[in-house]
Amino acid sequence: MSTRIETEIARPDTVTIEVDGRPLSAHPGESLAVALLAAGIRALRASPRAGGARGAFCFMGACQECVVTVDGRRVTSCLEPVRAGMRVRLGLG
């Protein structure tokens, strides 16, 4: 089962984005955090001091837990709309 609810929202056709070098299908316009969640990717980064796994938490751009790098810029993935060809790097490294 997908975490996307198919019955409640009509989405534009998928495009391909790149996540840590691997292709991923996602709907243009949807939140990048939601696209990652649908792909089963929940841990997005490691906390700076203890190195604990962290993922999207507030979904409103406040907590900064979902920050990833998109085309070289650090963005809150919850507020970042998916665009074809965007290159995403997770901050787990």
């Binding site: 609810i5 009509a10 406040a62 900064q64 507020l79």
Partner: protein, 478 residues
């Protein structure tokens, strides 16, 4: 160079949108700024571009009201700057924002702050595990993104959003594992008289409860989450009954629920970083969500020309936010000389009556989610309080034991609140922990707000700035 305007409205939720529309109608040159993709705020959040809500979802009152609001804004004189985060406000008022195309600045003769809220989650072991998300956050997923946080979801915390999210999951075909409510039946019964003010919302709430019952979802009132299991993802949620001081008792774990996601929220907290930055007076009102700006009947703060409205000035819900926003917009127009006293008083009188009614319901709901000070006492020593800097409760207690007596000292000594969220996730917990030792929340005080209010990518700062844009304090008068 900054654009010169009459009124800047920060926040495009029901409060900000009503303020902007009212002021623009009286001729104020108005810009409304919001970091979201579209106007509407939290309750009227729009679906993403080129996504369309279907069936029942498209018939929800919030969706319809939100679409109507966006259409009204489109035909109004309001300039709407979405995807712009305001990171600095200076007296005068100079307002700085960063957007997809770079830096923008305005000089406004008046400002309405309608910044809404952030969510309070009292920490417990495992609350930082991926798969644990906020309860209000889940409404965004469900309503705007048409997504669920997992396959087996536990919904926990307090307040009306519990049943709303639980029923939303049922409708999405992913009935939650359980809905776990800190409040017992008694608390809900006490809210009943005020709820009579909005029979429509009561019916809706009962509808959510009926949907949960039909789906066979266990509704555990008087219970709370004591821990989440799992390292890089949630595997189970442990819950326990709540003791008489309102806190779940870890030693009496009642159930272990297998789950891959936990949705949890302990109420909303007014976002006061902008009123703090402009040094408006504040007061602490637990039932209103915490620290709020001091307002008069015209939504004016203690700073001339600065107005505030909506949940960011005290929790009262969306209906109250809209009415209060309209009052703030009209008061700003009067301040700008675009609305005379007689017409102002005539127009706001019925709005004030409506506001009083809307508040009775909204404030009763807010009380269900008021901070439960005893809860922070149960946080384990090694549990992280500040997510950004991994500061644990033990580190906070050590700083307090060594003499930290107010919030700014605590921050300087522990780094709690210094990370990129600017303290928005940990301020409530840190303040409640400190309050236990210094005689209350008033004594513990608030963090001084500092620009940038939102994290700024360094490249944006360097690339987009002209010398005039760099915020400098006004020189002292000669």
């Amino acid at each position: 160079m900054p654009d010169a305007i009459d009124l800047l409205v920060l926040g495009a939720g029901p409060a900000g949108a009503a303020a902007a529309l009212a002021a623009a109608e009286h001729g104020a040159r108005t810009v409304m700024v919001d970091e979201a993709l579209a106007p509407g705020g939290q309750v009227y959040r729009a679906p993403p571009m080129d996504h369309r809500q279907l069936g029942q979802r498209a018939l929800e009152p919030e969706h319809r009201d939100g679409e109507a609001l966006r259409r009204r804004l489109q035909c109004s004189g309001v300039e709407v700057a979405t995807r712009h985060r305001v990171w600095s406000l200076l007296p005068g008022f100079r307002v700085h924002a960063i957007g997809p195309a770079g830096h923008r600045a305005w000089v406004a003769r008046a400002v309405v702050l309608a910044t809404g809220t952030t969510e309070r989650v009292v920490p417990f072991p495992g609350w930082t595990t991926p798969g644990v998300i906020g309860l209000a956050a889940a409404t965004i997923l469900l309503k705007s993104q048409g997504a669920v946080p997992g396959e087996r979801v536990v919904v926990a915390g307090c307040g009306p959003l519990l049943a709303a999210v639980g029923a939303g999951l049922v409708k999405a075909g992913r009935a939650p594992v359980a809905v776990v409510d800190l409040a017992g039946r008694g608390e809900w019964l006490r809210a009943l008289p005020a709820m009579a003010a909005r029979p429509d919302l009561v019916r809706r709430g009962l509808g959510w409860l009926a949907a949960l019952r039909r789906a066979g979802v266990p509704l555990l009132s008087g219970h709370g989450v004591v821990a989440v299991e799992g390292d890089t993802r949630v595997t189970a949620v442990r819950i326990a009954p709540v003791a008489s001081d309102g806190t779940p008792r870890a030693e009496r774990v009642a159930r272990r629920l297998e789950a891959d996601a936990l949705v949890i929220g302990h109420g909303l907290v007014p976002a006061t970083e902008a009123t703090r930055l402009l040094e408006a007076d504040h007061r602490f009102v637990a039932d209103a969500g915490g620290w709020i700006p001091v307002l008069d009947d015209d939504c004016a703060t203690s700073v001339a020309g600065l107005f505030a409205a909506g949940d960011g000035s005290g929790l009262a819900g969306a209906a109250a936010a809209r009415l209060q926003g309209e009052i703030a917009g009209l008061a700003a127009a009067r301040h700008l000389g675009q609305l005379d006293e007689g017409r102002y008083q005539h127009t706001v009188a019925p709005l004030r009556q409506g506001l009083a009614r809307a508040r009775r319901f909204g404030q009763a709901m807010a009380r269900l989610t008021a901070p439960r000070p005893a809860m922070v006492g149960t946080i384990a020593a090694d549990t992280v309080v500040c997510r950004c800097e991994d500061v644990t409760r033990a580190e906070i207690e050590t700083a307090i034991a060594s003499g930290a007596r107010e919030m700014n000292q605590l921050k300087a000594w522990t780094r709690c609140g210094m990370g990129p969220c600017q303290g928005r996730m940990c301020a409530e917990t840190a303040a409640s922990l400190l309050a236990r030792h210094v005689g209350g929340r008033e004594a513990a005080g608030q963090w001084t707000a500092r620009a940038p209010l939102r994290p700024l990518p360094l490249a944006d700062m360097v690339g987009e700035f002209g010398y005039d844009d760099i915020p400098m304090p006004e020189p002292a008068p000669p």
